[in-house]
Symmetry: C2
Subunit: 125 residues, 2 copies
Amino acid sequence: MRIGELAERAGVSVRSLRYYEEQGLLTSTRSASGQRHYTDYEVERVTFIQRLYAAGLSSRTITELLPCVDSPSEEHSDAALERMGQERDRLTAHIADLAQTRDALDGLMTSARAYRDQLQAATSP
Amino acid sequence: MRIGELAERAGVSVRSLRYYEEQGLLTSTRSASGQRHYTDYEVERVTFIQRLYAAGLSSRTITELLPCVDSPSEEHSDAALERMGQERDRLTAHIADLAQTRDALDGLMTSARAYRDQLQAATSP
DNA sequence: CTTGCCTCTGACGTCAATGTCAGGTTTTAG
DNA sequence: CTAAAACCTGACATTGACGTCAGAGGCAAG
C-alpha cells in the first residue's frame, strides 16, 4: 500500500509517517519512481509507535527499543533490556501519579456537586 | 516567602512560577519594590498545578478548573463541573492506555530475557 | 560602602512532533 | 489523452512550557 492508505489505516498523518522514516522508526520500499510502499505489517508497527509516543517516549528512545520489537527472538544488548526496564518503571510511576490526580479531580467534583445540590435543595423547597 | 524559596520548596524553577502567574494560575502580593511574596499555601498550589500539568492538562484548562480548587465550597458553573468530568474521563482512558503499553513492554522484556538466558545456557554448559 | 546574591521586566532561544506551503512528478479515473 | 488526486523533497511555521540572557534595581552582611 502507499503512504496515504497507511496513514488512514493507522490513523496518523502522512507527514508523521515521513517523519518516522526520517527518525529511523519506519522503513519503506520504494517504487521505481520513488514512492513509498508498505505492507500490512506496517499498520501494527505505526500504531505501536504511536502507543510509545503516547507513553511519553522520545523518538530516540523508541529507536533504541524498536529492534527488540522487530525481532524479539534475537539477541539484544543488555543495555536495551535495561532501557526497557527503566521505561517500564517510569510508566508505572507515571500511571500511579495520574491515578492520584484523577482521584483528586474526583474528590473536587464530588464536593462541588454536593454543594450545588445542597444549594438547590435550599432554594427550591 | 519570596519567589526563590517557593521555587525550591515546590521543586520548580523560578521561571515557571513567573510563567504560571502570567497564565493566571498563580497570584502574588508585591512588596513596595515590586518583589513577589507568597504564603505557605502557595506551595501546595504549585505542586497541584504541576500535577495537573503532568496529567496533560493545558494552562488554559487548568485556569478554568483552579477556581473550583480554590473554593470548592462555592458555586461553580456546570460547565466547569462538566469540564472536570471530561478531564477525569480522559485521564482514565489515558491511564488504561499507558497500562496496556507498559504490559506490552513487559511482554517484550520477558521474551527477550528468556531468549538471552536460553542462549547463555546453550553456550556455557 | 560595597560585595554578593536575589529579584525585576522583556525578549529571544529551544525542543519535538507536526502542520503547511511550494513546485514538481506519478498514478488513477473517465 | 487529460484532469484530478496522490506523491515527492525541502523548507519554513507552529505550539507550549519553559531556558537563558541582558540590564537594572533591591537587600542583608561585613
